[in-house]
């Protein structure tokens, strides 16, 4: 599988590591259902999903990758944060 890094171009997945579904962290607050959903519960779709990948052996960017979990088709990737320099 290859991922289209917005900075480096298409690269072999051996340069990346997968973290899981791209979810928004509950801002602060005490433990509750929102935190449990963020940390544990998943839609885990058989189909298109948005997930976090780290290009650790490349540009060091965290990416949000749109990918199909059944066909493994990668529909796109974007930087997860704006990137401090922007």
């Amino acid at each position: 599988m290859r991922l289209p890094c917005p900075l480096c171009g298409a690269r072999d997945i051996r340069e990346f590591s997968h973290m899981g579904a791209a979810l928004a962290r509950p801002d602060g607050g005490d433990w509750g259902p929102d935190w449990n959903d963020y940390l544990h519960n998943r839609d885990n779709p058989a189909g298109q999903t948005e997930e976090l990948w780290y290009h650790g052996q490349g540009c060091g960017g965290w990416l949000v990758v749109t990918r199909d979990t059944v066909r493994h088709e990668v529909r796109g990737a974007r930087l997860a944060g704006e990137g401090a320099g922007a």
Partner: protein, 417 residues
């Protein structure tokens, strides 16, 4: 029909004309006491123990494809009880005891081979962690031995003891552990369940779960509606989709785990050996193929196939550990879909829907759990209360933080276990 050497002799002499179906293909009735979604190892075992231990035979097992077509037919066949944490410890111990004697219980040779599982350690720190685990196994009443480097060498002299990047310090050995013929386990339980009156229904996909006033009333399937008093979801690999039919969102992420087999070879490896530094495990099947595997591919997947980076890593680990296998030729690779849970341990529990039971999250420990999982799930279905050895497999442990079973200590990232 009872299987025996005598029967084989008789059939052989009469042209093998008398053999009968190992299980009957049933057509769905409109109502069952218990409907089990999923005709994999765990589902079939649950059906068998419901019938055999609790006398509940008005049971249907609904399988989307063919019986045993899930991970029970797609794994590296390793059976062990070498866990370190409360919950896993007592459960896998229970499961291993059920494995011992499964042939006699089922009158089916599942080829449970107690050839020993040897986990290698490569540092003092790993040795201490293994010692802790081994002592937990002994506390549980299971067998465990800590081998030093020479002890390992005596047992498996062909490992790389000279030039290894991560020298072998020793190992944790469980002699009662080993391997079993994976397909036969599914077939044996299917045959036992079928013989006791359980309906095994293949090519029957569940498309909906009927719930009324917070209670499960049945399921919708591609072969019509089936009403049921109790429904058990035992569908590792598709748990999230089936649970969603009951409005549930599970703490599960699906990942692919590859496995590999070489061409047949004369006996060269008599045990199961695992190599921690390489996330590698290997054994030799009775047919002669070296069967081995490694870590997840790490990305979420429902495709039962992997990619090259992990496949190559597994070959690297195999060569590094056991240089003699270099001239063995990889014959086939495949992938199975793992229910990865946030702590790497399973879930067997009631749900917010009365009468609906969930069995999931086996990560890649599912095969060795088959008899144990079937037994305790049957107990939960039949009695409504968790079996003592599975009381910790709670769905709410992640919300409460109580009784987490993170054997790897890698935390709540599903693909790190």
């Amino acid at each position: 029909m009872r299987f025996s050497a005598l029967r084989i002799l008789k059939e052989g002499l009469t042209g093998n004309r008398g053999w009968q179906a190992h299980w009957a293909d049933a057509t769905p009735k409109d109502r069952y006491e218990v409907v089990i979604i999923g005709g994999g190892g765990h589902g079939l075992a649950t059906a068998y123990y419901l019938a055999a231990r609790h006398g509940i035979t008005n049971v249907a097992v609904l399988e989307k494809g063919y019986l045993g077509g899930g991970n029970v037919g797609r794994n590296t066949t390793i059976v062990r009880a070498n866990y370190g944490l409360p919950g896993n410890s007592e459960f896998y111990s229970h499961s291993l005891r059920l494995w011992e004697g499964l042939e006699q219980e089922l009158n089916y040779n599942v080829m449970m081979s107690q050839r020993g599982v040897l986990n290698l350690c490569h540092s003092d720190g790993q040795r201490d962690a293994f010692a802790r685990r081994g002592n937990a196994m002994r506390n549980q009443g299971d067998d465990a031995e800590l081998l030093d480097r020479e002890g390992v060498r005596r047992m498996v002299p062909f490992l790389d003891f000279e030039s290894a990047r991560f020298p072998i310090h020793g190992g944790l050995l469980q002699r009662r552990a080993g391997t079993a013929r994976h397909d036969a386990v599914a077939w044996g339980f299917a045959r036992g369940a079928s013989a006791r009156g359980v309906d095994l229904i293949q090519n029957c996909e569940v498309t909906g779960i009927d719930i009324a006033d917070g209670r499960v009333t049945g399921v919708q399937t591609t072969r019509g509606a089936i009403r049921a008093g109790k429904v058990a979801m035992i569908v590792a690999g598709r748990s999230s989709q089936v649970a969603a039919m009951a409005g549930m969102r599970l703490p599960i992420e699906s990942h692919v785990l590859q496995a590999f087999v070489t061409e047949g070879l004369k006996p060269c490896l008599d045990h199961v050996v695992t190599f921690g530094m390489g996330h590698f495990y290997i054994s030799q099947s009775d047919k002669g193929g070296l069967v081995f595997g490694g870590d997840l591919d790490f990305y979420a997947s429902y495709a039962a196939r992997g990619n090259l980076p992990m496949a190559e890593h597994v070959m690297e680990a195999g060569l590094a550990l056991m240089p003699m296998i270099g001239n063995a030729q990889l014959l086939r690779s495949w992938g199975g879909i793992m229910d990865m849970s946030p702590d790497g341990s399973p879930i067997i529990d009631r749900t917010h829907v009365e009468g609906l039971i969930v069995n999931c999250g086996w990560c890649y420990g599912g095969f060795k759990a088959v008899p144990g999982s079937g037994d305790v799930t049957a107990h939960l279905i039949a009695t409504g209360t968790p079996h003592p050895v599975a009381a910790r497999f709670r769905l709410d442990r992640f919300a409460t933080g109580r009784g987490l079973m993170d054997e790897e200590g890698t935390g709540s990232q599903h693909n790190l276990h």
